[in-house]
Assembly symmetry: C2
Homo-oligomer: 378 residues x 2
């Protein structure tokens, strides 16, 4: 093919670290294949000389053996190929190769100019702490459940949780707009219940309704929540799209803290050989997509994340990414009050502890159970 025209490129590149299975030759072939597959998607011999071959094509910067019979490939891309937008950035770093086994996206090393295209979380750790009036200790979160309760019953629970000292009362992520607790009625009642409790306690508990709604209703749901007094929003980017969460975070009128729920994202992390690392998915990518808190299943709960994987998520929530703020790791899933001391030892103070069912099993009085939860971190 003839050389392509000269392209007006910045010359800035960014790096993605992939872990590749296979012996040295196979890993090297995989790395070269990624460079083609993720950019020109063309057989090597057809790639035009000139700027396309020199700059558009991905580039293997290094390939190093790892301890576990894998290789770490650092592959760089020209920032313009990412289009300065999240869907194409995700596509560039893992679109087609998500379909090829033995390639795991391990870490993003985005360059300053590319990072400037993303506002990231609006609040981050510091902003959320300020909203809640909690400068230092771990934040406490619980979920309204079970599905099937009426809006009135859920609001009664919300009131008790807020009275007891929970900082964030969120919808269970399965609460959508079902007939037994319709979205608008639920949001109005729960926001009101939490506000009433705040007036009793002097605290600043916030209610986060679930806005993982159909695409045509989602922003309306968020605006309704804001008007009703909700102090934040729960959203599952796996269900509605990572860039939809980003849109919500960037919306100047809505401007509420966002908590990301991992529903439907598990397949990215269930294989050690393929997919996306916990660090990148629940840390870096959640931040790029505007989450202020990132929920994930805690080690030792009813899911299967290891302690090391959870630690890597914590790292991903705070690793330097230019102006993109650090966010709260939010371990949950089968947690109990009995584990809070140990979890605090592991996570320290910059964490949101999400305890759902475990708050109900501790004793018959929910308010008391919440007070006990609070006493464990104060």
């Amino acid at each position: 093919m003839q050389p392509s025209q000269a392209l007006d490129l910045s010359g800035e590149r960014f790096v993605v670290v992939y872990h590749l299975t296979g012996a040295a030759a196979e890993a090297a072939a995989k790395a070269r294949d990624i460079c083609l597959e993720q950019t020109v998607e063309f057989p090597d011999e057809l790639v035009p000389d000139g700027d396309i071959r020199a700059h558009i094509l991905g580039r293997v910067e290094s390939l190093e053996p790892l301890a576990n019979a894998r290789f770490a490939a650092r592959i760089s891309y020209t920032i313009e190929t990412a289009g300065f937008e999240l869907p194409q950035l995700l596509n560039l770093v893992f679109g087609n190769i998500s379909l090829k086994p033995g390639i795991r996206l391990e870490r993003l090393e985005l360059s300053p100019r590319l990072l400037r295209a993303f506002a990231g979380p609006r609040f981050g750790r510091a902003g959320l702490r300020e909203r809640l009036g909690v400068p230092q200790r771990p934040l406490l979160c619980t979920a309204l459940k079970p599905m099937g309760l009426s809006a009135t019953a859920l609001a009664a629970l919300a009131h008790q949780f807020a009275l007891g000292g929970i900082d964030i009362v969120k919808d269970d992520h399965g609460l959508a707009d079902q007939p037994f607790a319709p979205y608008r009625e639920r949001v109005q009642r729960c926001a009101e219940a939490v506000e009433r409790a705040n007036q009793q306690t002097g605290r600043a508990c916030i209610y986060m309704p679930n806005v993982s709604a159909p695409a045509d209703a989602l922003l309306d749901h968020a605006r309704f929540a804001k008007a009703a007094g909700a102090g934040g929003l729960l959203i599952a980017p796996g269900l509605v799209g990572l860039d939809t969460m980003r849109q919500l975070a960037d919306d100047e009128q809505i401007a509420l803290p966002l908590m990301a729920h991992p529903a439907f994202q598990g397949s990215f992390v269930t294989s050690a050989d393929s997919g996306i690392s916990h660090y990148a998915l629940f840390g870096q990518i959640a931040r790029l997509a505007g989450a202020d808190a990132s929920i994930y299943p805690n080690y030792g709960g009813r899911f299967s994340f290891s302690h090391a994987e959870c630690n890597s998520i914590v790292e991903g929530t705070a690793t330097p990414m230019a102006q993109i703020k650090p966010i709260f790791p939010t371990p949950g899933g089968g947690m109990s009050l009995a584990r809070v001391a140990e979890m605090r030892g592991s996570y320290g103070d910059d964490v949101i502890f999400l305890i759902g069912g475990g708050l109900h099993t501790h004793g018959p009085d929910l308010v008391k159970n919440c007070r006990h939860f609070l006493s464990l971190v104060e």
Copy 2:
């Protein structure tokens, strides 16, 4: 807990078939766990008696051993728990359990009343054939590439493809809104080039630009494409959200055929033990979400799908789902003209053959290569 109030439920349930790893006792425990995890997300002992326990909770309808040391669990859910919307349906059938290993969503058996909530593909196989004026043979598709070419150069390619007899000329899915070929200029030039070719040939080739754009720009991009004369749209639901594709399909003003691209969806299918089956993801779910054609990597290409997996996708694109139309399986990825005869033997006529780079390697004259491609199916 006290019995819940009586809920106003239809009594209609639908079934999801999961494949579970493990011996009989472990599989049975997994099946029971799914019933809790996906609905009430509460410890069993806390689930209120009454309608919540009787109806909201998932129910194991059967558990049967499979040949490969797995079990097939048929689990039913009350249709109201799915909220009659796609994000919550996806959440209900696979949200949290995507995070648990050894559970694979194999097949959806949605009930009539739940299916009525979804319009599905606007065109389907018959509607797309009518648009293209091709009543019987396989449809031919190619992609504009490589990334880095200008809008003018891409339009020149589009013109040649359309002249040669390609039915659908789509953007490569990595073409977003990059500076080297900005979206609007590209769409205008390529739509015009295809229309010019149609006037020369008397054919009805359509151009499908890639609208996998940021959430705030996507519908505008689609409307712009329609106004510019694009005959369809390419969208990657893994990048922008399945329900965003559904929204696009349901939009009465846009009303264009949609081709779904599998970028960023591969992690759902890379493990045989976890994730979602090829049949459900690229067949049933793509249809529920409004795709008229579903792209996936063909067996024997540069990806790793097996022949059996590809056959299962074909089944999923046409299995009866009430009013939801059958759609076109669209195998691609490293295909060549040399394989068309064999692929036709496997796929028959109701298929779209997507050949990208392979059309360029066949010989120096693109128009001739396309004519040859067409001659292989006419």
